[in-house]
Symmetry: D2
Subunit: 345 residues, 4 copies
Amino acid sequence: MASQKELTVGVIGCGYWGPNLIRNFSSVKGWRVKYICDLNSNRLAQIHEQFPWTQPVTDATVLFDDKELDAVAIATPVSSHCSLALAALEAGKHVLVEKPLAASRADAEQIVLAAERAGRILLVDHTFIYTPAVQKIKQLVEAGELGDLLYFDSVRINLGLFQHDINVIWDLAPHDFSIMDYLFADKPVAAAAHGMCHFGNQEDMAYVTAFFERNIIAHFHVNWLSPVKIRLILIGGSRKMVLYDDMENSEKVKVYDRGVDVVDSLGGIYSLLVQYRMGDMYSPKLDTKEALRSEVEHFRDCILSERQPITDGHMGLRVVELLEAAQHSLESGGSRVPVRDMKTS
Amino acid sequence: MASQKELTVGVIGCGYWGPNLIRNFSSVKGWRVKYICDLNSNRLAQIHEQFPWTQPVTDATVLFDDKELDAVAIATPVSSHCSLALAALEAGKHVLVEKPLAASRADAEQIVLAAERAGRILLVDHTFIYTPAVQKIKQLVEAGELGDLLYFDSVRINLGLFQHDINVIWDLAPHDFSIMDYLFADKPVAAAAHGMCHFGNQEDMAYVTAFFERNIIAHFHVNWLSPVKIRLILIGGSRKMVLYDDMENSEKVKVYDRGVDVVDSLGGIYSLLVQYRMGDMYSPKLDTKEALRSEVEHFRDCILSERQPITDGHMGLRVVELLEAAQHSLESGGSRVPVRDMKTS
Amino acid sequence: MASQKELTVGVIGCGYWGPNLIRNFSSVKGWRVKYICDLNSNRLAQIHEQFPWTQPVTDATVLFDDKELDAVAIATPVSSHCSLALAALEAGKHVLVEKPLAASRADAEQIVLAAERAGRILLVDHTFIYTPAVQKIKQLVEAGELGDLLYFDSVRINLGLFQHDINVIWDLAPHDFSIMDYLFADKPVAAAAHGMCHFGNQEDMAYVTAFFERNIIAHFHVNWLSPVKIRLILIGGSRKMVLYDDMENSEKVKVYDRGVDVVDSLGGIYSLLVQYRMGDMYSPKLDTKEALRSEVEHFRDCILSERQPITDGHMGLRVVELLEAAQHSLESGGSRVPVRDMKTS
Amino acid sequence: MASQKELTVGVIGCGYWGPNLIRNFSSVKGWRVKYICDLNSNRLAQIHEQFPWTQPVTDATVLFDDKELDAVAIATPVSSHCSLALAALEAGKHVLVEKPLAASRADAEQIVLAAERAGRILLVDHTFIYTPAVQKIKQLVEAGELGDLLYFDSVRINLGLFQHDINVIWDLAPHDFSIMDYLFADKPVAAAAHGMCHFGNQEDMAYVTAFFERNIIAHFHVNWLSPVKIRLILIGGSRKMVLYDDMENSEKVKVYDRGVDVVDSLGGIYSLLVQYRMGDMYSPKLDTKEALRSEVEHFRDCILSERQPITDGHMGLRVVELLEAAQHSLESGGSRVPVRDMKTS
């Protein structure tokens, strides 16, 4: 089905994110958007005007039944991810799914297993992983420039649109959970979450802490009620530390040669044993390539070379597991909830 | 003892903060620094050179025994606050104590009761309360400009000096706990804390959440391991929201006419019931007066007019209670620990 | 020709800016893009793929000869503006011309006169005038909130693409000249300019000063050699002052209640007669509407209601006059060159 | 007179800056402040309270007549610099003079010659030269890291105190003129200045351009009427560029690996011959030492080792020459005025 020449894709869901997928699949070499699909025919017609070379359908089974179609991209509400992804995989399609992969750990596991069974590529759309900023930080981590990772601290807040079907954790934290998952070899073993529901019936702000076997801690502040937009990630390493400020126009990533030296002091218990170290900062030049474009190219390359995507189903599952643990903690007053690892299930 | 003309004070502890107290007591009208006191005679001599009009003593009992002395300022390590404060109050001195008031709730209560018994002024040096920024926010809160308070979120992080006797919560959080206590009429009923000790034997970073009877949540990130210095407080109100960025040279306080309106929708449960509102921002002009100077003047005025300071022993005690609850939570893996209120004890 | 239902436009020039015009004319109600035109047929084909509903032509006379076509938008290099605009106006088309209106004062005058003769709308694409930021500042000026205008200071610098046909003044200063022209009722009577040509054969950085009959001064720093991108305009008024920072994501416009009071001092000539005043700052909420979209709507409304655009040919001409005066000054070593006003010509 | 053990200094002028000199001379090893001097005996008494170990005098001749006194620091209004400096040098004192060195080129020359005749150290208090930021930039320049210097652009603006005796150029530009003089081996050969006097009788804002023999340009914006405080210097080099933002708490100096490459294109005149280059940025860690303290130590070292200070009389004279040229240009409507170099006089 997949040929070296051109892959075809159908995009299901033409809401907020779908058109971005259509646009990128349309402009990347090697892809052709064959179908666009939405239950709402008015919305479908409106999007079709922008992409007149696609075939609009309201019924997703048209895609699954088209033997020529290579891949399906699912950008529908999270509750429908599982059934659509399973149907697409069963029909032999490669699948790109909007984040989070599914509404529950059980559903996410089903999708991952189905993809493995079908021998098809499953890519979860954790777009941030494909940003030049995160790619650069990954390089720093892998080159050992940060030393041992000590903590991950993320703030993702703004005056956000209130969602009805999901709370602020499920809305915003998948970004940060996936970034941490990508950068940190260690995986969280437990999570605790506190939140507050001021309006409506979903938490509009929350604080999630993730715990590890080793001396690492991670923390996430997600908030729909902030007057200002902050997108700030701090990564502490034993050698260097990174500040990733996504609101900066340039200089999004700053690497600080700052840290702590443990000094072998002979001067008794009152002498300073732990000293901080201040050095230069540098901000690497970043590409300006759109992340979603890189992701769509990566999806193509993975299909053609039968490689696993960097945001594969396992990452998607780990993100859902952490979401679920945080949700359980939230519902139990903030207690520490284990994150079950697939390997141990 | 106290006269309209001039009050005398002795400053105990000439470490990092003591000289700031001496300098401000020296320059404010109505105060005269009679003694400076430190156990370390070398340090004492060094500070005496800067303030040659004071009398240096290594023994604090000289101050307590001087019947003419009106007040004592205690800027020693927290473990010695209780005994020094009690001795000073018993000797009939007015007392200014460095924050936190004491190392435990029990000690703090003792000091508060001793001050009440002695009929002397007890001022806890929560300096931030006297900053023009916090004073301005207090005015906004009291004028109802923010509406109902929804949350308090504070980040106080930098590459800090590691302390040996206290962890990062006891070092940094008293600032934020006191600011919240001053601004919020509601008081926390429970706290939860997570932290990590990467180096040395004290937590070098921690996250504290405070819970209230009503729909309010407060959160505090304190950290000695951040490559950058951030001092940021967000206060969410139902009408307006405040961002207080202490690292800004000017425009430290920004008031956002932004928030959430709950709309009475008739269109069924799927229609948007909660909408955000975006309006102007303004940044009030702030005084440039040094906070510690205002505090020392306030201490003088409270003594002369027999008024309670705005940072009185009760505030100091509430801060210690919250510290202690956070500490207990930290030690019990993050469980929710009640904050015992003095009124109910 | 013009009907209430739909106006048709042909866009000449499909380089950097043309596609933005095509996109906005395509999405604004009341406009239909009938033709797109470029001498380069490869480029034309490439753009046509994005806008397949348009008719691609390499010869602009097709547009002029189409009796049904209402308007022409010219986004070609500045040297061709004059001949194209004249041809379009003679053919009875309404014309939108990229900034600057023309390469010389003489050419610009010809276009303005031709538009008046033809009774057609001539809109110069000074896009910044249609930004929510400039519109808001205009409101402040007109409401008298700034008092008397004292100065206009602009910095527009970055590491820019070197142009071969025009220097940095002709490339960047039209933006600032038009903003000043829009906001200031007073018009400059002379200009002086200093610049430097480090590479290539065009000035890559320049400083332009504009002089007025009254006590107003304006200054413009344009630069292709700056390591950072700065887009900062300061407007001093006798009552308030404005800072317009176009690099800010939000809070682009800040209004400072700061200024100078001349105090009637009786204490002799050495006493302070001039005092500064510090008050609050506020940052008005701005629309997020794309400026070019507003401009294209305005062009439509002006045609339908036979009104003059706010960026009409006279503004376009004044901008060219100031450019020409600055250019003459640059070539004469920075001497003060009069800006001839059309009214006096 | 000068001994290895301790140098004595008398500080003349106890206005705004004098106390900073007294404080630093008092705290630096090797210096003892013997006299403080001011014509205003009330002010003198007030300052003496802070520095009780000094001898207050209202008559500067006491200092000149004291054979034991090594040095004099002059922090009086600029009009008195010449007579005081000449008297001090004639009395054999080493002299530190507040910037600018004198009110005219003629006066400045007299002082420089008098110092050379007397064989005494003359240090002009261009404090910024001693900041860690400027010292770091100097190192970068000398190491060739910036390549050939292309331009110097400075903005020094705020809502400033209006001066009666000097305009904004003489008030603020000496800082930037001295920094440029220190960093750039090339010296300006001419200057042009435009300004405006909105209030009072002195220019409250001005733009100064300096010209060089080679392809270098320098520009200075000084302004007492800005609602915000900006202290920004850009230095363009052919290899790297520097941004020095003195309002930043940390990261005052940023070095950009950005610039322009002239490409030898064979593709005809329309191909791009000049291309920009974007690389990393880094911000070197800076000392936190107070500049005036370094300066006072340097003054001591120069006296003891009979070396010329880095801010010697020749630099002071060059700054005054540029000020005078700018002033003449301002008075002649902005014409280009030669900067006479001492070497050619």
